[in-house]
Symmetry: C2
Subunit: 349 residues, 2 copies
């Protein structure tokens, strides 16, 4: 995957040469971006006094968050931006600028770094975000990418995790568990390839879940829909660690309980079928798989009419008072305490 | 250095537990910080419509930027914040918030991470900055720290690298080369220790240059002085890669030349003497050593009277037209082209 017809060593450019090479063709699109790459700091001017600035940061580490044996660099660049934008949408805001830091080992060629950067810039273009700065350095081992995103939101539209109220409907966009099942497919094919490099990978009929894993999107459209519908969610966060973990975050921070209905959890048929092939429970994959980058949010019950006919929203439960606990009502009607078995990067060794 | 009386494994807390443990006692000090750690993004409200937002990011990688065999974790945490604040001061701004991402290997104990964090928070406290968010993940190899800093500056006070004008005086704060000589001392003692672990390190009389390396400060005071003196530099950047490299950045971006006078370069006597002990030229250390985090700037010649008696400013040359080139006038009066041999992290393997 790191092969290419030409290979230019990074040391031939040096740090400043590399940054210049990667960034000189960047066109700044947002009026708020006054100065991008090229000085000690980027300069940003949010002129609307009615807005606040949102800032979030995510670090992706080779071998922990991604495996370059099956993740194309361009996809990795794209995804590394998406996971950050998702955090801004999860506040009901609009991402505007990103700052990219990378530690790159000398095994990377210039062409490889260009691929990675091309993916980042593609995501920037699609979501109307400016890449305004960062840091590029060497790594003694794996690739490390850190992206910080800045965004804007009208002051009274910011949605926190702590705003869920008893009686709120618990909703989620899109479907869940697909990214996790895509990862299982990729891991399986990697194992097979290691045993016999002549076997072609069997990815037939798995396009949707592979795309969920390799090239996820952030739900800009949902935030726009909230605005179009004049719908103000009470609490929200994005689903990066798994539905169960995120629901528990919202309930803990809002000091409430919940009832989540297993049968309401949106799962794509490809996710469902693949889970069955792997002898996995699709619900568990949705609850604990993570990396879906969907939006989990709660709304006033009175707003139900606004969302009930929308194809990409699911009402999956409701918020209760704290004493009732955080519960999953299974398809068979059993009530069980919701447990977070989310993907905890710190537990990976 | 990683030893401690008690050792708590990070896996005992998990990612969310660790973040909570490290951040729950953080007190937010800046009125602009609306929401810090604990949501998808931090929320910041710069209410002054006359200001712009500054943003900068730096990544520090173990084995490339620091060596834990002689850098105490608390000092590392402190320095990792300082190098970022320095970028905001270099724009003539005031840093207000930082976002911290860390990749930590399992060889670190909770107590070690606490030390690192304590250093970061100490720097935040000293410089009036809020730690508002970040990401904590695991690393398969070394420690990686990425800090993004946000700051503010009055719109018409921002100082870029590209503003130097012919006739400007070239100035620098403090003294140069000390951090580099401190590093030479630490590297020497490490080599000696490896050969014979019973020999005590000989750091006698090297306190100043060791502090320059291990616990640098950012020049908040100089930015305040600019304000007090009503002095608007025409161009500015901080000295992180070495004086020569930084002067060339300013000249290239401003499309000008310069004359730098060797005899005017401020070098502390401890730096000078240590360079001699190491058979190094102190001027070369100042030109190419880096990590000084002093401010390099140019001012109108008419402003000379404002700075001429200040103890911590040195006028080291002047800006010429581009055709004259970027030159160093040596102590013997020879004129030589200025060369950047700065510390280029990408060339390190």
């Amino acid at each position: 995957m790191l092969e290419n017809n030409t290979r230019t060593e990074l040391s031939a450019l040096g740090e400043f040469g590399l940054i210049k090479h990667l960034t000189e063709h960047i066109e700044l699109k947002n009026p708020s971006t006054i100065k991008g790459v090229g000085d000690d700091a980027a300069v940003i001017n949010y002129t609307n006094t009615n807005t606040v600035t949102l800032v979030s940061s995510d670090m992706l580490v080779e071998g922990v968050h991604f495996d370059l044996t099956y993740v194309p660099l361009k996809h990795l660049g794209y995804k590394s931006v998406i996971v950050n934008l998702s955090d801004i949408y999860a506040m009901n805001g609009q991402p505007k600028q990103i700052v990219v830091s990378m530690a790159i080992s000398s095994r990377f060629s210039l062409e490889a770094v260009e691929e990675l950067y091309a993916g980042m810039l593609l995501a920037c273009q699609k979501y109307g975000v400016d890449l305004v700065g960062g840091d590029t350095t060497s790594s003694l081992s794996g690739l490390v990418i850190n992206i910080t995103v800045l965004g804007e939101c009208e002051k009274d539209k910011v949605v926190y995790r702590h705003g869920a109220k008893e009686g709120n409907l618990l909703c989620v966009s899109g479907d869940l568990g697909g990214a996790y099942m895509g990862l299982q497919i990729l891991e399986r094919e990697k194992t097979i390839f290691k045993e016999n490099p002549n076997i072609q990978p069997d990815l037939e009929g798995k396009d949707y879940i592979l795309e969920r894993q390799l090239k996820p999107e952030a739900r800009k459209d949902i935030v726009k829909l909230f605005s179009d519908l004049n719908l103000q969610p009470r609490s929200m966060m994005d689903v990066s660690d798994g539905l169960a973990s995120e629901i528990l975050h919202i309930c803990t921070q809002s000091n409430v309980g919940c009832e989540l209905y297993e049968e309401k959890i949106p799962i794509d048929s490809q996710t469902y079928d693949t889970a069955r092939q792997f002898n996995l429970d699709a619900t568990v994959c949705a609850l604990s798989g993570g990396e879906d980058y969907e939006l989990l949010f709660t709304i006033d019950a009175a707003d139900y009419d606004k969302v009930k006919n929308l194809p990409d929203f699911s009402v999956i439960g409701h918020i209760t008072n704290k004493e009732k606990g955080t519960n999953l009502v299974t398809k068979s009607g059993t009530v069980a305490a919701l447990k977070a078995q989310g993907w905890d990067a710190l537990l990976k060794k």
